[in-house]
Amino acid sequence: MIQLKTMLNCIDNSGAALVECAMVVGQKRHASIGDRIVVVVQEQTKAHAAGMASGGPKVKRGDIRHAVVVRTRYRVQRRDGSSIRFEDNACVLINKAGDPVGSRINGAVGSELRKKKWSKILSMAPMQV
């Protein structure tokens, strides 16, 4: 249930740690796993903020970016009757073309991404459930 003002963890290595949802793209209801949203970067990762990471952060605080929701606290119902609920809301930043900004993803992502055809994010993710 990602909507305006929802704070999400950013789980890629783009440099953003915490982002705020500013808009749900393409639909009038709340966003779920696999939906595209517009976010504002609120906090950078500590490594990037301290300037320790190589190459520097790709995004900065205050940046407006697109992102894909990969985990939600709200239950996602599946076709076979099972449902899944994560501990946190998480997203991965993408550019306007739909390619991920970061090059790595830390943490599990929901397999609803496969249905929504986010294959690049799925291939980067260490685990999909």
Partner: protein
């Protein structure tokens, strides 16, 4: 008060009396018809109904027998002829009335049998039912660590059993596990064919005092990662397959694969 207009305007009195006649007729139709079987062919009108009549003296007929006025507008239903009475008695005596049977008695609820049939179809060996039955002592209980294997590939999901939603064929279990440091809760339908196996990895030492361990969501009570338990259980399972005895041989249900 009504007297003066009656005198001055005869039509008004006609209207008034007509209204009265209509009322009387309605009254008589309701009162005389059921009693017409027993009473004499011309049912005597009630004296009450004749009381308002004399003042108009227009639609009344003097009854020769009773010397009473009766209204000419009353509908006197013809007396029920004897054959019809006989007919009714014939019907009432020969045909036995059906025994009082409620709808529930006539039509048993078909759903329980249907659901039982569906369950037996989805679970022919009864292993799934037994694993979560209330009576089975070896059944999985809330607080145990279970591992669910999916037929559609993917890694088996292991987690603490938080609650069992018993609803016949829709019976489902809620597991809480941890994947890549993120807690994940999953509901599984136990009779789902895609659920290839449900295994009890670790049993809680004491039975939980709650039916639903929602307090596990609080960080203070969270069990956390159960992978170590799963690894330990897998090791013990391997020992079992080689024939050696171990502590893991405690229950029959433990490590049982569902067909």
């Amino acid at each position: 008060m009504n007297v003066a207009p009656v005198i001055r305007r005869p039509l008004a009195s006609l209207k008034n009396s007509l209204r009265k006649q209509r009322e009387i007729r309605r009254l008589l139709a309701t009162t005389t018809e059921p009693t017409s079987n027993t009473s004499a062919p011309p049912p005597p009108p009630a004296s009450r109904s004749t009381k308002p009549l004399p003042e108009s003296n227009f639609f009344t007929i003097p009854d020769p027998k009773t010397k009473q006025l009766r209204t000419a507008f009353a509908v006197y239903s013809p007396p029920r002829s004897q054959p019809t009475v006989a007919k009714t008695t014939f019907i009432s005596t020969t045909i036995n009335p059906p025994p009082p049977q409620t709808l529930v008695q006539a039509h048993h609820d078909p759903l329980p049998a249907l659901k039982q049939k569906q369950i037996s179809l989805l679970d022919p060996t009864g292993a799934r039912t037994a694993l979560f039955s209330r009576t089975n002592r070896d059944a999985a209980r809330v607080g145990d660590v279970l591992m669910v294997t999916h037929r559609r590939g993917g890694e088996p999901f292991a987690g603490v059993l938080m609650s069992i939603r018993r609803a016949g064929i829709d019976t489902a279990i809620l597991l809480r596990g941890r994947l890549t440091k993120v807690a994940v809760e999953m509901w599984f339908k136990i009779y789902n064919r895609n659920v290839a196996g449900i295994e009890v990895v670790h049993r809680r030492k004491k039975p939980a005092r709650r039916a639903r361990l929602t307090y596990l969501r609080k960080s203070k009570h969270d069990v956390g990662d159960v992978q170590s338990l799963v690894f330990a259980w897998k090791r013990s399972r391997n020992v079992l397959t080689t024939g050696a005895k171990s502590k893991g041989q405690r229950t029959g249900v433990k490590g049982q694969r569902l067909s």
